[in-house]
Symmetry: C2
Subunit: 499 residues, 2 copies
C-alpha cells in the first residue's frame, strides 16, 4: 500500500494521531459478546476489570444488553474502536467507524494477509477505507493494546498492567503479553503496550516514533521479526534519547525461514539490523528472559557511576559460579580495598572469603543484621558501583510448602518456619536494602530462584514488590543478573560516548 504516504507522516503528526489510541475518552467494542469463551466477551471483561477511565460502548446488532451494559446496534461516535468480528465483516465495520467519526481502531481479528490471498484482499480493502477517512489502526491479527495513561486494557488475556515507565512494541502478541504478565506481579510497571499484528496501517517504526517522544515512557522494549520501513526505523533509532532494548528474531537462517512463513514479510538481512543497533542506542538481546531482566533494570534501577560489581552470597559455590559468569560476560568484579576488607573482617566470621565475591558463609543465613552491615559496607565504599545479592530475599517463605503432607510427632511442628515470622524478617531486610539504594544510588540485583512465584504467592510477591518499587531487580539466577548487568552497562557506555 501507500508506503510513500506513510513515509511522509511527520514525527509530530504521529503524536496527535496516536492520542486516541493510547488515551481515548471512549471505546466502542465491535463484536462484544455474552459468550464467555468468545474473544468479544473476554476483551469486554478485561476492559471493565482493568478499570478503563473512559466510556465503553459494546456494539452487537443482535443484543440489547451485554454484561449489564446497553449494547449498540451500530458503531457510535467514539475515539477508539476495538474490532473483534469475523474478517469478512471488518471492511464494513471500518466504513461504519468512518461514518461515526471514530479516530483510531484496533483490529484483533485474524484471517487477513497471514491466511492467504483472500485475507490479503480484505486487509487491503480495510486499509483503503481507513486511510480515506483518516482512521489509524493497529493490526489486524493482533493481541491488543494497553495504556496505563487511562487504564486501557484491550487484551484477550488478563494482561493487567500496573502504572510504570516501560513501553512495549511487539510483533508477536503472545510474547508481548508474556512480558506484561510476568513482570506485572513483580511490581514492574508499564506505560503503553501494543501488539502490532500484521501492521497493515501502523508500523513498528510509527509506534517507536511515538514512544520516543512520550514523556511517560522511560524504557522501550521491542520484539521485531522485520520492520517495513528500514530508513524510518534507522531515523527513529538515531533520535532516541532513552534506552530501547530489543529481540530481533530471525537472526539465524533457520529463524529467518520461520519468520518468513509467520509474518509473510521477509525478515531482512540480520547484518543490517545489527549495524543499525550498533550505530544507535539500541540494546540487543536474544531471549525474552534477557529482555525482561534488562527492561526491569533500566526501568527501576538508579543510573550507576561505574561498572565495578560486588557479589554477596552465603554459599561459596554460588560465588564461584558468579565469578565465572562475570568473566564469561566481560563484567568487572570490584577489587575490594584494604579498608573495606578490614571492615568486613569485623562483621563476618573468620572463614569468610576475604575477597569479592563476598562469601558471608552459612553464618549469614537468617542473620539480617550481619547481611545489612555487609551490604552497607559495600554501599559506602568507593570501589563498588553495583551489587548482586544471591539468595538473600524472597526465598524462605517457599520452604513451608515442602512440609505439606508429611507426618511427624506434634512436638516437631515448630520446626516448620512460620510464614509471618519469615516474611517479617525478609521484609525488614528488603526495606534496609531499598533504603540503602535510595541513599547511595547503587543498582542492586537480588537473586531469587522463586521470583516466578510472585504470580500466585502473596508472600513472595510482597518482598519482590518492595524491592522493585525501591529500585532493586529480582532475577532467577546470578547468570541472568550478570547478563542484564552487562546490557545495562552497554547502554550507559554508549550513551556517555554520544553525549
Amino acid at each position: 500500500l501507500d508506503a510513500v504516504e506513510v513515509n511522509h507522516i511527520q514525527m509530530s503528526d504521529i503524536i496527535s494521531e496516536l492520542e486516541p489510541l493510547f488515551n481515548p475518552k471512549s471505546v466502542s467494542l465491535v463484536g462484544a459478546s455474552k459468550d464467555p469463551f468468545s474473544w468479544g466477551a473476554r476483551i469486554f471483561a478485561h476492559l471493565v476489570m482493568g478499570s478503563y477511565e473512559g466510556k465503553i460502548y459494546p456494539v452487537n446488532p443482535n443484543e440489547d444488553r451485554i454484561f449489564g451494559y446497553d449494547s449498540y446496534k451500530k458503531v457510535p461516535n467514539s475515539d477508539l474502536a476495538v474490532i473483534s468480528v469475523r474478517a469478512q465483516l471488518v471492511p464494513g465495520v471500518m466504513e461504519e467507524c468512518a461514518g461515526a467519526g471514530v479516530r483510531a481502531a484496533v483490529i484483533v481479528t485474524s484471517g487477513f494477509k497471514e491466511s492467504g490471498a483472500d485475507g490479503a484482499k480484505l486487509e487491503e480493502e480495510t486499509t483503503r477505507i481507513a486511510r480515506k477517512s483518516g482512521i489509524r489502526f493497529v493490526g489486524p491479527n493482533c493481541m491488543g493494546v494497553l495504556s496505563t495513561t487511562c487504564s486501557l486494557t484491550v487484551s484477550i488475556t488478563p494482561a493487567f498492567a500496573p502504572k510504570g515507565n516501560i513501553s512495549i512494541i511487539s510483533q508477536s502478541g503472545t510474547t508481548g503479553n508474556v512480558i506484561v504478565e510476568t513482570l506485572a506481579p513483580r511490581g514492574i510497571g508499564f506505560s503503553k503496550y501494543v501488539s502490532s499484528g500484521n501492521e497493515a496501517d501502523l508500523h513498528f517504526e510509527d509506534y517507536l516514533g511515538y514512544l520516543a517522544q512520550d514523556d511517560e515512557t522511560k524504557v522501550i522494549l521491542g520484539f521485531i521479526e522485520g520492520v517495513r520501513d528500514g530508513k524510518k526505523f534507522l531515523r527513529v533509532c538515531r533520535s532516541l534519547d532513552k534506552p530501547f532494548a530489543v529481540v530481533k528474531a530471525g537472526w539465524t537462517s533457520m529463524g529467518k525461514h520461520a519468520a518468513a512463513s509467520h509474518t509473510g514479510s521477509l525478515a531482512g538481512a540480520d547484518e543490517v539490523y545489527d549495524a543499525i543497533f550498533r550505530q544507535t542506542n539500541v540494546v540487543r538481546v536474544h531471549t525474552i528472559g534477557e529482555l525482561m531482566d534488562v527492561g526491569a533494570a533500566l526501568s527501576v534501577q538508579p543510573q550507576p557511576n561505574g561498572n565495578r560489581l560486588a557479589v554477596v552470597t552465603s554459599g561459596g559455590g554460588a560465588g564461584v559460579m558468579a565469578a565465572d559468569s562475570c568473566e564469561e560476560h566481560g563484567v568487572v568484579l570490584a577489587e575490594l580495598s584494604k579498608d573495606t576488607l578490614g571492615k568486613l573482617d569485623k562483621i563476618l566470621p573468620p572463614f569468610w572469603s576475604h575477597r569479592n565475591p563476598v562469601d558471608m558463609t552459612t553464618a549469614a543465613i537468617g542473620d539480617i543484621t550481619m547481611q545489612t552491615r555487609v551490604i552497607r559496607t559495600l554501599m559506602e565504599c568507593g570501589e563498588v558501583d553495583r551489587i548482586i545479592l544471591i539468595a538473600a530475599l524472597g526465598m524462605l517463605t517457599v520452604n513451608r510448602a515442602r512440609y505439606e503432607g508429611r507426618t511427624f510427632p506434634e512436638e516437631m511442628k515448630n520446626i516448620i518456619p512460620r510464614t509471618d515470622a519469615v516474611v517479617a524478617l525478609e521484609e525488614a531486610l528488603a526495606r534496609q536494602v531499598v533504603n540503602m539504594v535510595k541513599k547511595y544510588q547503587k543498582p542492586v540485583f537480588s537473586i531469587n530462584p522463586s521470583v516466578m512465584l510472585s504470580t500466585i504467592d502473596p508472600y513472595v510477591a510482597k518482598i519482590v514488590r518492595i524491592l522493585s518499587q525501591g529500585g532493586v531487580v529480582s532475577c532467577v539466577s546470578p547468570d541472568d543478573a550478570i547478563k542484564a548487568f552487562r546490557r545495562a552497562v552497554e547502554y550507559k557506555k554508549r550513551k556517555s560516548i554520544e553525549s
Copy 2:
C-alpha cells in the same frame, strides 16, 4: 592426609564401605536438640518427616527425651552417625563412634579446615581417629546426605526427595539442595545425594566410583570445584557406562580465585578437566539450570533414535525464536516430508506455518483435539526424532490469580477460567502426550514458564508430574529445552561412538 592409602581402596571396597552411608539400618544423631532453630533439631525433624525406614537414636547428654524419642547420653551402636555438635567436640564424638561400632558418619558441623589453622588441626585429628577405626565419613562442613533406598533424609533444609534414578554429588551444599528442592516438586526422582563438604575422608571421586556401580542410579549429576585425586577421577570417568553431567565451577580465572578462597584447595587448570570431560562420557554444562534440565532429560526421557527436532507452537514469534536457538546451538530442525505436511494441512487452519517450527496459530489454544492430532502426526512420521511443545501444558491455571482483586459486574464472572475445567483440559492433553511418548518412544520437552510454580501450586504440580512420570521434561523456555536437548544428544553421540 593419607592420599596413597585412599588410592589403594579398590572399587569393590567402596561399595561395601558406603553401604552403611546410603542404606543404614540405624542412625544416631549426635547433637539432637529440642531448640527449633538449631541444626540438631532440624536434621532430626527432617529425618523423621522423611519417613526414614530404620531406627533413629537421638544423642544428647543433657536431655532424656527429644520430640518424643528417648535420648541417648552416649553414641549407641548404629550403622550411621550424623554429627552436629561444635567442631571442638567432634574428635571426641568420633572416638565414641569408634567404640560403639559405628560404621559410617556424616559430619555436618563447620569450623574445620575452611576456618583456618585451628580448624584444620581438628579436621586432621578427626580423620585420624576415623581411619584408625575404619569409619568412613562425609564432610565436615556439609549439608547432608539423602538416600531414597531407605528414605534417609539427613538435611538442614526440607530437601525431601521422591524415589527416582538421579544421584547427585555436590561440593556446594546449597547448590545440591537447590537441585533436589527444585526438581522434586516436578516429580523428578532421586536415588542418592551427598553434599561432600571439606572431603577430609571421602572424596568426590569415591562417591562417583560408588554411583558408577549403583544399579539404582541411572544419571549422575555433579557440582565440582576441584577433585583431590585427579588420576582416580579420570579412571572412574573412563569406567562410567551411564550419563554424568557436571558443572565444574572455577572455569575462568576469576572463578578459580573465588574457588581457592572457598574450598582452600586449588581448583586446578580448567583445561585438564575439560580434556577429561571430552575424553570420557561426561556432559559438561555451565549453569545449575542447565544441569537440572539435562539431568531431568537423561532421567525420564526415552532414548531417541536420532537428533531431528520438531517444534510445535501456537505463537509464531516463539517458533521463530526457537528456530534461532536451534541454529545457535547446532540442533537440527527436522525437514517435514510432503506426506506429513499434507496430514497437517488437514488438521490445521490454512494459515499455519507449513513448515517446522509448526506454528498451529492461535486457533490451537484450548483445542486439545487439534493439538493431539498435530503431535500424533509428528510422533508417527519418520523424519522427526524429538519434539518441543511450546506453551501447551501447565500454563492456563495461572491466569486465575491475575483476576484477584479486580472489581466487575457479577455477569462477567464466567470469563474467569474455572480452575477445575482448565485443569481437566490440560490433564487430558498431558495424558495424551504421555501415552504417545510411551508408544512412539520419542523424547518430548514441554515449555512452561510457570514450571517453578510446581513448588506451591497443586494444579501446576499435577500437570507437570503427570508429564515427568510419563517421560516428558518441563522447561521454562524453548532456549533452555534446546540447550538440554543438545547436551542429551552429545551424550548419546559419544556413547554410540564408544559402543
